[in-house]
C-alpha cells in the first residue's frame, strides 16, 4: 500500500469543500464511459489514480446520494457480472454537462496554480 495514499472524501475539516467537490467530479468522470456499481466506481478511481486515491465506502455512497439528489446521476438495480444484485449508476444529460464544465474549470484552476507555483 503506497504511503502517500489519501482517502478521498474522508471528512476533513480543513479541505472539506474541495475534497467533496473533487470526489463528485471523479465519480462523474468515472461514470462518463459506462454505468457502474459502487464498488466498480471505487476500484476504477483507485486504478485510474494509480492507487493515490482510495475511496471509502461511506464517503462514496454519501457522494452518490448527493449527486443523485442533484439530478446528475440516476440509478437502477441490476444483476452484476457475477450474479449479484447491485445498484448501477449512470450519468444523466445534466450530469454530463456538469462534468464538462467542472473539468474545464478544474483544468483552468490547476493551470493557474501551476503557474503560480512555477513563478516563485
Amino acid at each position: 500500500m503506497p504511503l502517500d495514499c489519501r482517502e478521498v472524501g474522508s471528512v476533513s475539516e480543513k479541505t472539506g469543500e474541495l475534497v467533496q467537490g473533487t470526489l463528485d467530479m471523479l465519480i462523474l468522470k468515472t461514470l462518463a464511459l459506462e454505468s457502474m456499481h459502487g464498488y466498480g466506481i471505487a476500484v476504477r478511481i483507485e486504478q485510474m489514480s494509480k492507487g493515490v486515491f482510495k475511496v471509502n465506502a461511506g464517503s462514496l455512497f454519501v457522494g452518490l446520494q448527493r449527486l443523485q439528489r442533484a439530478g446528475l446521476i440516476r440509478s437502477e438495480w441490476k444483476e452484476s457480472e457475477n450474479n449479484r444484485r447491485a445498484k448501477y449508476y449512470s450519468l444523466t444529460a445534466l450530469g454530463r454537462k456538469r462534468l464538462d464544465s467542472e473539468a474545464r474549470d478544474w483544468g483552468r484552476q490547476v493551470a493557474a496554480i501551476a503557474r503560480i507555483l512555477e513563478a516563485s
Binding site: 456499481h37 459502487g38 464498488y39 471505487a42 476500484v43 482510495k54 471509502n56 465506502a57 461511506g58 464517503s59 462514496l60 455512497f61 454519501v62 446520494q65 448527493r66 443523485q68 439528489r69 442533484a70 439530478g71 452484476s80 457475477n82 449479484r84 444484485r85 447491485a86 445498484k87
Partner: protein
C-alpha cells in the same frame, strides 16, 4: 428544481424508512463483498481478505451511519427521536412536568395578555393608510406652554398660509342632534368636520359618498354621514338609507353616506370632551373668511396629513412662521399663541404609555422568574441525569447532539406551556377588556393578532433556550469518567453557586415588583382619600338634551335662556315631589364629567391689561340649590337662591382657589367682575373647591353663575338629585317626570356620583390592580423557588447533618445553620432588589399621586413582607433537616 428533488428524495426516504435503509444496507454489503472477493481472487485467504477490507473501509455500521446521516431527513429523524424521548422522560416524572408547564403557562399567558393590550394601544400602526404622516395641530399658550384646541379663524389661516401639508381638516365635537321620529326622541352625538376630513384620514364610506367641498359652506350643510353603529342601531342597517331625509333638531338633513364598521377616530380621552364615539357627522361649514369673533373661541381639533417627505419638524418650522404672522396681525387674540405639531400616534397614547410599559416590564419580570424556577427544576433533574449524560458522552455522543436533545426537551415543555398560556390569554383578553379603564385610547383595537402570536412564539423560544441551556452551561465540564465513578452521587461544583444566583435573582425581581405594586397601591389609596369637594353618596345625575326651541339652534351664541330656566324651574319643582328625592338642581358641567369651559374676565377697579393678556376662569352655570344638593360647602356669603333669576341683579359665586388667586387676603364678597359681555356681576359668596378635572388634578379657579343670568347654553344641563334612598331606583320616576314636562327632551347618561368617581379613576385602578396581581404572583413564584432550592440543598446535606448531630449539634443549631444560609441569599437578593426598585420608582414617578417615588414605608414594608415569606418558605426544609434522625441520616445514600 434541484431543491425540489432534494426535498422529494428526502421525503421518500423518510416515508419509506425501512426500504431506504435496506437499500443502503444491500448496497454496502455488495460493495464490501465485492471487495473481499476481489482480494480472494488475488489469492489472499478468506479471513485475511475480510480483515483487510475491514481495515480499509472501517466498520460497516459506521459507514452505514455516515450514509444515513448525510441527507437532511436524518435531522428530522433525530428530532423525531428526541421528541419521542423527551415526551417519554417527561411523562415519567409527571410532577415535574406539570409544575414546569403550569409555571411557564402562567408566565407566557400573562405576557401575552399584557402584550395584546400594549400592541393594540401603542404598537400597532394607527388604523389609517400611511399613519406616520398624520399629525395633530394644537394652539400653544406661550406663557405657560399649555396646549389647547383651536379657534376656527386660526384654523382657516393655518390652512391658507402653511405649505407642509397635503390636507388640513378640523373637527368640532360639540354639535348634538335630537332625532325625532317614531318613539322617544333620541339624543345623537354629532361632530362637524371639514369636507376633506375623511379623505385626510384615508377613510372610504361603506355606503354612499363623502362630503363635497361645496357642502362645506354655511347654508349648504344639511347633509350627514352616519357611523356604522348608528346605521345599524337606529336604521336597521337598511341599504336604502342613503338619500333618506331625517328630522334632526326639527330640521331636515339628508343622509349621504355611512362610515365603515372598523372606522374609529384615534384620540386621547381628554380630546372632544370625552366623547369620541360620534353617531353622526355634518360639514363644519366655516365661513370664508370666518367671522372675527371666531378667533376668540376655541372649539376645534385640527388634523393634518404631512406632504410626503416632510418631517413634523419641518412642518413645525413652517407653522412657526404662520404663528408669528398671526401674532402680528391679530394681537388681541393671538399675541400669546403659538402652534404645536404632534404626531397623531404620540398624541393619543401619551398619557398611558408609561403605565402600559411598566406593566409590560413587570410581566416580563414574572416570566423571568418563571424561567428561573423551571431552570432550577431542570438543574435538580440534571443532577439525577448526570449519570445518563456521562454514559452518553462515554458512548461517543457529541456535545452538539447532547445540546440538541436537552433543548428538545425544554422546547417540548415550553411549547406545552406556551400553548396553554396562549389559549388562556385568548380567553382572558375579553375579560381584561371588560376591566380596562373606560377612557383608554384605541381600546377597540385590542385583539390577539399575528403580531401577538409572533411575540408569544418569540418569548416562548427565548424562554425555552434560556432555561434549557442554563443547566447545560454549568455541566459543560461533564467528565464522563468522574461522573460514572461517582455513580451520580453528590453535586457538581458550581451547581450550588448557580442555584444561589437564581434564588438571589428571584428575590431581587420579586422585591422590585413588590415595591412597584406597593407604590402604585399607596398612590391609588392616596387618590381615593382625596376629598373631591362634593358628596358622592346618594346622588343621581342625568343629562338632558334641549331641542332647538330652547337653544335657538345655536350652540354658541345667544340662546333662549329664559325659556331654559323656565323649563328647569318647572322640572325641578316636579322632581322634588318624587318620593325619596331630597333636593334637585341643575349644572352645566358636572365635576369629573369630562366637560368644562372657561372665560376671560376682569375685576372692577384693577388696572387694564395689555392686549392678548387675560385672566381666565372656569365658569359654571348652575341653578339655585346646586351647592346644597351636591354638598359643596358655602364658606363665605351665600349660595344662589331662586330669587337670583333673569330679572334680578347679576351675581356670581367664586370658589376658594379663585378667591385665593385673585383676592389674596381680601374678601371677594361684594366685589364686581365682568366677562367679555361687559356686564358687571357682584360676587355674593365663596364656596369650597371641587376636583373638577380628576381626583389627582389640583382645583382651579371657578366662577358659578345662576342659570337664568347667563346666555351661554353650549352645554347640556345635567340634573342632579340627592336622594334618601338608593339613587338608581329613582331613574324611571325621573324619566317619567321629564317627559311630563316636555316629551321632546331626551334623557341620557344616567349615573350615580359614585359611578362617576369610580370611572374617573379607572386607569390608575386598572394598572394598580394588574401590578398588584403580578407582585403577588412574583412573591408566590419566588417562595416556591426558594422552597425548592432549600429542600434540595438540605437533602444533599442530610449525611452532613447526621454527622453534626452525632457529634452533638443541637436541633436548634441545625435550624439556625440552614435558615442562616437562606437568610444570606435573601439578604443579598433584597439589597439588589432595592437598587432595582429605585430605578423602577424613578421611572414611574410621573404616574404616582400623593407620594414620593422613594416612599420609605413602601420600600421597608415590601422588603419585610418578602423577607418573612421567603424565610417561611425556607423554614419548612430547615425544620425537616433539623429533625432528621442521625442514624437514618448516616445510612442515607
Amino acid at each position: 428544481m434541484r431543491l425540489f428533488r432534494t426535498i422529494a428524495a428526502g421525503l421518500r426516504s423518510l416515508l419509506q424508512r425501512k426500504k431506504a435503509e435496506q437499500e443502503i444496507d444491500e448496497e454496502l454489503s455488495a460493495f464490501l463483498d465485492m471487495a473481499v472477493e476481489e482480494k480472494i481472487k488475488r489469492g489472499v485467504n478468506r479471513d485475511e481478505a475480510l480483515r483487510a477490507v475491514r481495515l480499509e473501509q472501517g466498520s460497516r455500521e459506521v459507514s452505514k451511519e455516515i450514509v444515513r446521516s448525510a441527507g437532511w431527513e436524518s435531522f428530522v429523524e433525530t428530532l423525531w427521536q428526541d421528541l419521542r424521548f423527551a415526551t417519554r422522560t417527561l411523562r415519567r416524572s409527571p410532577g415535574f412536568t406539570v409544575v414546569a408547564v403550569l409555571t411557564l403557562a402562567l408566565g407566557i399567558g400573562a405576557n401575552t395578555a399584557i402584550f395584546t393590550v400594549v400592541n393594540g394601544v401603542i404598537l400597532k400602526p394607527l388604523p389609517y393608510p400611511q399613519p406616520d404622516r398624520l399629525v395633530i395641530l394644537l394652539e400653544k399658550q406661550l406663557s405657560d406652554g399649555t396646549l389647547g384646541t383651536v379657534a376656527p379663524a386660526n384654523f382657516f389661516d393655518w390652512r391658507e398660509q402653511s405649505h407642509s401639508f397635503d390636507k388640513m381638516a378640523a373637527i368640532d365635537p360639540s354639535p348634538d342632534f335630537i332625532l325625532n321620529g317614531s318613539g322617544d326622541p333620541q339624543r345623537l352625538t354629532g361632530a362637524a368636520v371639514s369636507s376633506d376630513f375623511f379623505s385626510l384620514l384615508g377613510t372610504h364610506m361603506a355606503l354612499g359618498r363623502d362630503f363635497l367641498s361645496e357642502e362645506d359652506r354655511p347654508g349648504y350643510n344639511r347633509v350627514i354621514i352616519l357611523s356604522y353603529s348608528t346605521w345599524l342601531h337606529y336604521f336597521g342597517g337598511r341599504s336604502d338609507i342613503v338619500g333618506k331625509l331625517l328630522t334632526l333638531n326639527n330640521s331636515g338633513y339628508s343622509v349621504i353616506g355611512v362610515l365603515p364598521r372598523d372606522f374609529s377616530l384615534v384620540s386621547k380621552a381628554s380630546d372632544f370632551q370625552s366623547r369620541n364615539k360620534f353617531d353622526l357627522w355634518t360639514p363644519l361649514a366655516l365661513g370664508s373668511p370666518p367671522e372675527p369673533w371666531q378667533r376668540g373661541t376655541h372649539p376645534l381639533s385640527v388634523f393634518a396629513r404631512l406632504k410626503s417627505g416632510i418631517t413634523s419638524q419641518q412642518a413645525q418650522t413652517d407653522l412657526n412662521q404662520v404663528a408669528a404672522n398671526l401674532q402680528r396681525l391679530y394681537p388681541a387674540d393671538d399675541k400669546e399663541r403659538g402652534i404645536t405639531v404632534v404626531p397623531l400616534s404620540e398624541h393619543a397614547v401619551a398619557n398611558v404609555r408609561i403605565a402600559l410599559f411598566t406593566l409590560l416590564a413587570a410581566v416580563g419580570m414574572v416570566l423571568l422568574m418563571a424561567c428561573a424556577n423551571v431552570a432550577n427544576l431542570l438543574l435538580t433533574r440534571a443532577v439525577t441525569r448526570q449519570m445518563e449524560i456521562a454514559l452518553r458522552v462515554a458512548l461517543g455522543a457529541t456535545r452538539r447532539r447532547l445540546v440538541q436533545q436537552l433543548l428538545t426537551e425544554s422546547m417540548v415543555l415550553v411549547m406545552l406551556g406556551g400553548l396553554l398560556g396562549l389559549s388562556s390569554a385568548c380567553l382572558a383578553v375579553p375579560a381584561v377588556l371588560h376591566y380596562l379603564p373606560a377612557d383608554l385610547p384605541r381600546a377597540s383595537e385590542i385583539a390577539v393578532d399575528g403580531r401577538v402570536l409572533a411575540f408569544t412564539s418569540l418569548i416562548s423560544l427565548f424562554t425555552g433556550i434560556l432555561f434549557g441551556l442554563l443547566p447545560f452551561l454549568h455541566s459543560k465540564q461533564v467528565n464522563a469518567n468522574e461522573s460514572i465513578k461517582q455513580n451520580g452521587r453528590g453535586m457538581a461544583t458550581g451547581q450550588s453557586r448557580l442555584r444561589s444566583a437564581l434564588i438571589i435573582g428571584q428575590v431581587a425581581v420579586a422585591l422590585v415588583l413588590l415595591v412597584g405594586a406597593g407604590l402604585m397601591t399607596k398612590s391609588f389609596w392616596m387618590l381615593l382619600q382625596v376629598s373631591p369637594g362634593f358628596r358622592t353618596e346618594h346622588i343621581l345625575t342625568a343629562r338632558l338634551s334641549l331641542p332647538p326651541q330652547y337653544t335657538n339652534g345655536n350652540a354658541f351664541g345667544i340662546g333662549q335662556h329664559r325659556k331654559i330656566s323656565a323649563f328647569q324651574r318647572e322640572l325641578i319643582g316636579r322632581v322634588r315631589n318624587i318620593p325619596g328625592v331630597q333636593s334637585a338642581a341643575f349644572t352645566a358641567y358636572l365635576p369629573l364629567g369630562g366637560t368644562d369651559s372657561s372665560w376671560a374676565f376682569d375685576i372692577e377697579g384693577r388696572p387694564e391689561k395689555p392686549p392678548g393678556v387675560y385672566d381666565i376662569t372656569n365658569y359654571r352655570p348652575v341653578s339655585a340649590g346646586y351647592f346644597e344638593t351636591v354638598g359643596i360647602p358655602v364658606r363665605r356669603g351665600r349660595g344662589f337662591d331662586p330669587t337670583d333669576n333673569e330679572d334680578s341683579p347679576l351675581v356670581v359665586v367664586v370658589n376658594e382657589s379663585m378667591a385665593r388667586t385673585y383676592w389674596k387676603q381680601q374678601n371677594p364678597v361684594g366685589q364686581r367682575v365682568r366677562f367679555s359681555d361687559q356686564k358687571w356681576r357682584t360676587v355674593v359668596g365663596v364656596v369650597g373647591d371641587v376636583r373638577h378635572e380628576g381626583l389627582s388634578t389640583k382645583p382651579e379657579p371657578e366662577m358659578y353663575i345662576p342659570y337664568g343670568q347667563i346666555a351661554n347654553v353650549e352645554s347640556h344641563p345635567t340634573i342632579v338629585l340627592r336622594s334618601l334612598i338608593e339613587p338608581t331606583s329613582l331613574t324611571s320616576a325621573l324619566r317619567k317626570t321629564v317627559s311630563e314636562v316636555d316629551p321632546g327632551v331626551p334623557l341620557d347618561q344616567i349615573e350615580t356620583m359614585k359611578q362617576i368617581v369610580f370611572v374617573s379613576v379607572g386607569e390608575p385602578r386598572f394598572r394598580t390592580a394588574v401590578l398588584l396581581m403580578f407582585a403577588i404572583l412574583a412573591l408566590f413564584v419566588a417562595s416556591i423557588g426558594l422552597y425548592g432550592v432549600m429542600s434540595y440543598l438540605t437533602s444533599q446535606r442530610t449525611r452532613e447533618f447526621g454527622i453534626r448531630m452525632a457529634v452533638g449539634a443541637s436541633r436548634g443549631g441545625l435550624l439556625r445553620l440552614v435558615l442562616g444560609q437562606a437568610a444570606k441569599l435573601i439578604t443579598i437578593g433584597i439589597c439588589l432588589g432595592l437598587a432595582g426598585a429605585m430605578v423602577l420608582a424613578r421611572s414611574i414617578a410621573s404616574i404616582l399621586y400623593g407620594i414620593t417615588p422613594f416612599d420609605a414605608a413602601v420600600f421597608a414594608s415590601a422588603s419585610l413582607v418578602l423577607a418573612v415569606v421567603a424565610l417561611l418558605a425556607s423554614y419548612i426544609p430547615a425544620r425537616r433537616a433539623a429533625s432528621v434522625d442521625p442514624i437514618v441520616a448516616l445510612r442515607y445514600e
